[in-house]
């Protein structure tokens, strides 16, 4: 599904990702953990193609295609989805209008027929219910006046509607109480179908109690320094990132 090879990337001339390798196969869930400043969010932005995130070395393939060669929207159309840590508020553009445009842009690219307004509405309502957002959220401006938790749920709703091949969840757990966390996790788990892959980026192990990863990677200083199964997350939870060396111990304290 996704192959990242020796990726180096910088923001404003500061190198953040320094030789990252990762392979995600269809249906797998990979968790990426790491201390603050390790490059976790940067990875999501680089993969989605944000302006200002420069790749200086390495390659990324999504289903064999050169991801780095694609425009932001083409990456989404190819099946990549990024759930933002801080989703932006866009007053004046309704959730509904936005998602319909988005779903149909992606369907068109994949050679599927556009959804009619009625078909879309039905799907949108179901997705809205699934993440326990009131239906009137569809009519409201994108994330406009939403609480932190509502924004995160809105991201998951979008993921459900867009049916990506690979979803990157950037700290989808931050700022959530246990109930909201459960809703987000249920939303993600409902989309696990053996084909769709996930990269779950998180600072804490907590989310991984709800979304069971197949692999856990520790990202530090722009590289994956340790990989393992779900038990690695528990290890981190218990003893922090101290094993990475003194630098991170201090940073955490």
């Amino acid at each position: 599904m996704l192959k990242i090879n020796n990726l180096h990337a910088s923001v404003e001339d500061k190198t953040i990702i320094k030789g990252l390798d990762l392979e995600v196969k269809p249906g797998e869930v990979h968790a990426i953990m790491g201390p603050n400043g390790a490059g976790k969010s940067t990875l999501g932005y680089v993969l989605s193609g944000r302006d200002g995130y420069e790749v200086s070395e390495g390659s990324v393939e999504l289903e064999g295609a050169d991801l780095l060669d694609m425009e932001v929207e083409e990456r989404a159309q190819a099946g990549l989805f990024l759930a933002f840590q801080y989703p932006v508020e866009i007053p004046g553009v309704s959730n509904m209008e936005f998602m319909k445009e988005s779903v149909n842009a992606i369907r068109e690219q994949q050679g599927k027929e556009s959804l009619t307004a009625a078909e879309f509405l039905k799907k949108a309502k179901a997705a809205c219910k699934q993440v326990q957002l009131p239906l009137d959220f569809l009519k409201r401006g994108v994330n406009e006046g939403f609480s932190g938790g509502e924004k995160k749920r809105n991201e998951i709703m979008q993921m459900i509607l867009l049916e990506p091949k690979l979803a990157i969840l950037d700290e989808s757990d931050s700022g959530l109480d246990v109930d909201a966390l459960q809703v987000v996790a249920d939303g993600v788990n409902s989309q696990r179908d053996g084909e769709r892959s996930f990269i779950v980026v998180t600072h804490y192990q907590r989310l991984l109690d709800y979304i069971k990863p197949d692999f856990v990677h520790i990202l530090a200083d722009g590289k994956i320094v340790k990989s393992g199964d779900a038990s690695l997350a528990h290890e981190v939870e218990k003893s922090g990132y101290a094993f990475l060396g003194k630098k991170y111990e201090e940073a955490e304290a």
Binding site: S48, E73, R75, V88, I90, V93, F98, S102, A105, V142
Partner: protein
């Protein structure tokens, strides 16, 4: 004095009709006032350099032009092509209670009413208004009788097909308690110079729904004015839409002459690369208890320039006035320019008055967010930035005009590049 203005004056002096006394007065004023340069505050940001060396060109041959049809619009269509009225106005089936006539065919009584309007509502300081006074041979007088409600939209289209100087004039009286919808439409991209001025007397308890679309583009220069006088308890709902061209300027004056009048004006301008559009609005609250709400919003493309001047003048006696003015602009490029100036002059002490002006650039973060959801870039820009213009368009009372306009605007916008 400019070469162009000299020629206009020379060729216009011969015009002699029932409006001659006013035309003569305007000619004198024009001579005293002279050509407005950059030091003239009203023209500070809008250079007239492409006009002042122009040679006056008279229309050589009679032409006709196709005017875009607005589907679903029940309209009485009046068309000026190259400054000449091409509609056979005398045989037109005007709605009951409405008389529509050209200046040349007014009876004595109508001439009396028309001369009470001509040059009487439009303030004298508009140089091009004076030009139009002396040069507008062709004009239309629309009289809506007392108490009559007209459902049809009276649409007056100005279009240019050749390089001419075209001066057209509209005079409208909406009688007491009457209600009408008038749509002034300007179309064309042919190199030319036109002035189109209109004066509206909205009498007591009357209502006017009004549209003025200044949509000439390219090398079509247009300077126009729409001027309203509001009677007691009258209402005005006006929508202005502006495209830019080499020179495009519109002056709107709303004069609260009667108490408890309510004026609402929305203006939208959408300027493609290199275009210029200048909107000057002036609201005069001369009497107490008037209400004005004005919203102007524009999107300005690369190397384009918008000028917005919004003046609200509340006279000493105009207590209990409620006036709001808001102007918002979006620049698509660092090389786009907006000169915006809200001007409040308040001489009464018991009024509520608010104004604001903002200028913004494209929100990169929001754009990125939409792109990550697979929305095409051009579409994303329309969704993000068109919304705030669309909000005003959606307030247009006439659904047919709205449905016609929206796709035109969004297509224009979709072709505008963000740089």
């Amino acid at each position: 004095m400019s070469q162009w203005l000299n020629e206009v004056i020379e060729s216009a002096s011969a015009t002699s009709d029932f409006l001659a006394p006013v035309r003569k007065q305007s000619l004198r004023s024009l001579g005293q006032m002279g050509w407005p340069g950059r030091r003239n505050e009203a023209w500070r940001f809008t250079p007239l350099t492409s006009l002042d060396k122009r040679q006056v060109k008279h229309s050589q041959s009679a032409t006709s032009a196709e005017v875009p049809v607005i589907e679903g619009l029940d309209a009485l269509e009046l068309v000026f092509v190259d400054g000449k009225l091409t509609t056979d106005i005398e045989t037109l089936a005007a709605p009951e209670g409405v008389s529509v006539s050209s200046f040349a065919n007014l009876d004595d009584k109508q001439q009396q009413v028309a001369s009470d309007l001509f040059g009487q509502i439009k303030p004298h300081h508009h140089v091009f208004g004076l030009v139009n006074d002396i040069a507008s041979e062709q004009g239309i007088f629309i009289d809506v009788a007392e108490g009559v409600t007209v459902d049809k939209v009276i649409r007056i289209t100005n279009t240019v097909t050749q390089d001419v100087d075209a001066h057209t004039r509209i005079l409208v009286r909406i009688g007491k308690g009457a209600s009408a919808k008038i749509f002034e439409d300007g179309q064309g991209a042919q190199a030319s110079m036109s002035t189109a001025f209109s004066e509206f007397a909205i009498e007591d308890n009357a209502h006017l729904e009004h549209y003025r679309f200044a949509m000439m583009t390219g090398e079509a220069m247009q300077v126009g004015g729409t001027h309203f006088r509001l009677g007691n308890e009258s209402t005005l709902n006006s929508t202005v839409v502006g495209y830019g061209s080499e020179l495009s300027r519109l002056d709107v004056d709303i004069i609260h002459a009667g108490e408890h009048a309510n004026a609402k004006m929305n203006a939208v301008y959408l300027l493609a690369e290199g275009e210029l559009f200048d909107l000057h609005s002036n609201i005069e609250h001369a009497v107490p208890n008037g209400v004005t709400e004005e919203n102007a919003r524009g999107i300005i493309g690369d190397r384009a320039r918008a000028v917005f001047n919004g003046r609200i003048h509340i006279h000493r006696d105009a207590q209990n006035t409620l006036a709001e003015l808001n102007n918002r602009n979006l620049l698509l490029s660092r090389r786009g320019i907006i000169n915006t100036k809200p001007e409040l002059e308040i001489y009464a002490d018991d009024v509520k008055c608010a104004h604001g002006a903002t200028v913004a650039e494209i929100d990169d973060e929001a754009l990125f967010y939409l792109l990550t959801r697979g929305v095409e870039r051009s579409k994303a820009l329309v969704m993000l930035n068109f919304g705030f213009i669309q909000e005003l368009v959606n307030q247009m009372p006439d659904a047919a005009i709205r449905e016609w306009l929206l796709p035109k605007l969004s297509e224009r916008f979709a072709h505008m590049e963000v740089k």
